[in-house]
Amino acid sequence: MKNNKVMITLLYFVSVLVLFSFSGCSQSESAAADSDSNQDETVTIGYNRFLTQAFGPGEVPFDFIQAQVKATHPNIQVELNIMPDDTAGMRNAIAVWMNGRDGTVDIYGMDTPWVTEFGSAGWAVPLNGELPEAENFVQPGLETFTYDGRLLAIPFWGSVTGLYYRKDLLSEAGFDEPPATIEEMREMISTVREQKPGITPFVWPGGKNEVLVMLFSDFLHAFGGSYLDEKGQYAFNSPEAVEALEFMRSLLEEGLSPEEVKTWNQQEAYRLFVEGQALFAWSNNDLVLWLDDQERSQVAGKWGFAPSPARPEGRRVSITGGFGFAVNPYSDVPEAALKVMNVIAGRETQKNFALAWGPIQYYRGLYKDPEVQQANPKAERINALLPYAISRPPAVRYSQLSSILQQELHSALTGQQSSLVALEAVNRRAEGLQ
């Protein structure tokens, strides 16, 4: 009994000591950080682990940025705060920091659909006139990250979506060009299927995911629809939009796409194409870089990449994506952060992104550089899609709009409601966001 009392008392004092030592540690650490700031400044970049990986002949982008900053600003240290790989997780972490007016990261990666939302919330320092290197970017790249006249981020990587096709199988079936119209695509599928009954005609990411919004945006335009009507109101319930969603459902009902697409994300969706078991796949330009690598792909030398097909009355489009770096308005070292941003916006860093990650970068004349051309022999295939590039649906609360679209589109795809009911619900709920 006595021993128990001694133990309990001891435990009590240990727990109190632990609590005090934690608070003591954090105080002494912050004191140390304060004293350091007089000598060196540390700029922290928040981005996912891709910044520590190179997929081409370039250096690891983060190491390159560190070296460049060290060479030009010796008193600035650059650190990396590794954020979640998925964009939703990254966005949520940034939102938590911004709400807490937190300066954990001084520079962070901004996805293109966040621009309106972050701009209206004041979550990025306007960069107009702050970065001399920004003058060297082509305008479309900067416009993607501009909200209400304010440049919010400097792009460092971009993407477009398109249709991957099996050049060899189409050629064997007598088709020299990829499908330009939906009807041509259907014709190609039925002809190739006669010769190769085991082939999966068309794979696409139909899981409840942001990429489903991109896919629907593509088909919406392909069937002649648009995000907004002439009055600037959302037009997700237009007859063209209903037809587009019905087309997606018909792909499942007619067995042109496997039922499993309803659960697939982008990586799961292109797997069959990469393994040589699918005729068409819808995805972004990531695959272009490695689809000819025989170790990773069964279709090396047998594929092509083109804008998605459309109805004659519709429009062929490629949906854009990509990231830029923005400066946290609550950064403790805003001036140092801007200096680092100027290094990131510089030709050498942008060139290294092109060498390490491949297209798309928006620095003027970058793709005329022989080294960049040599490292990106497939850049032409991607550049061919740029004239078709359009953004995702406009919204001040994009994440909310995206969530609504994901819920309702996926409900329709999984047969929980009709296409018309789903799209009426999208429009009604989206109007409530305006």
Partner: protein, 303 residues
């Protein structure tokens, strides 16, 4: 002498309070402070900011918006269905596991207990990823097994059909939950006097009769407490859904907690998100209160 005893009693009382301080501090910082803050936020219009001092006061408008929304009632219906299914399976399987671990040959006892504990030690998100692969209709083991056993022609689309997705989420949840219940119930089983079992056996009672007439009544307080904890956890289900279905297909597996999370962190609407959280808190508290009143008062340890 009397004064000295009084002083001693006072010292003990002071020391008892001292022991409670760390617990109160932790509860205050991690539970009560966030709850009070959420309750405060729920009366303000807070979008993209939590600066309530400069935000418009909207009274109960956020509560009206939540209670009037389709998403709330939809996620409430799913959460209720999920809780019913998950708790019933959780306790039944937990009891089976506990009985096996108790009555099994001593040689296998430790091994079985380790097997029971392992799912408990795996974090929910990792567990959800494991199950996501197991339910994958292309390469998942569950679909393949069903086909090989002749129970299905092709692997079912577990995560793409609403009813199957609900069942999949319940199964993944129960896999871990049953082991938690089993640990509770094993402790309860240990409290069943062997003499009672022996006496009923001598009286001619069979295995099932002994279980329902002797074991269950003696274990009733433990079963009720396990049920209370498992119900509370099931009502707040979050990570297994995020990891397995993401709330899909459509909104079919969106729970109260996952939707509250979306309002908070995807939509950054802290006013409505807080109202949502307060409503969930009140709902869980009322249910738990009724549960305690209905069942626990029957047992001796509630005075």
């Amino acid at each position: 002498m009397r004064q000295s005893r009084l002083r001693q009693g006072k010292t003990y009382r002071n020391r008892d309070w001292g022991f409670l301080i760390p617990a109160f501090l932790c509860l205050g910082v991690f539970y009560y402070y966030p709850f009070i803050q959420s309750a405060l936020y729920s009366f303000f219009r807070l979008e993209y900011t939590t600066d309530w001092l400069h935000a418009p006061f909207v009274g109960v408008q956020n509560y009206v918006a939540v209670l009037g929304s389709y998403e709330f009632w939809h996620s409430l219906r799913f959460t209720a269905l999920f809780t019913l299914g998950a708790v019933a399976l959780d306790l039944s399987l937990g009891m089976l596991l506990a009985l096996s671990a108790y009555w099994i040959h001593p040689f296998f006892k430790t091994l079985l207990r380790i097997i029971i504990i392992i799912p408990w030690a795996i974090p929910r998100v990792i567990q959800a990823s494991i199950w996501r692969w197991m339910f994958n209709s292309d390469v998942g083991i569950v679909g393949t097994l069903l086909v090989r056993l002749g129970l299905a022609e092709s692997p079912p689309l577990f995560l793409g059909e609403p009813a199957l997705a609900l069942m999949s989420v319940v199964m993944a949840y129960v896999w871990k939950g049953a082991s938690i219940s089993a640990v509770f119930l094993m402790a309860g089983l240990a409290s069943v006097p062997r003499e009672l079992q022996e006496a009923s056996r001598i009286d001619g009672a069979g295995g099932l009769r002994r279980f329902f007439s002797v074991t269950v009544p003696v274990m009733a307080p433990t079963i009720v407490i396990a049920g209370l904890f498992r119900t509370r956890d099931a009502l707040r289900v979050f990570d297994v859904i995020i990891g397995l279905t993401g709330g899909g297909p459509g909104m079919a597996t969106e729970s109260l907690s996952t939707y509250a999370y979306r309002i908070y962190f995807d939509f950054n609407n802290y006013g409505i998100g807080s109202a949502y959280a307060v409503i969930i808190f009140i709902g869980v508290a009322v249910l738990s209160g009724l549960y305690i009143k209905r069942f626990l008062e029957r047992f001796e340890f509630v005075k």
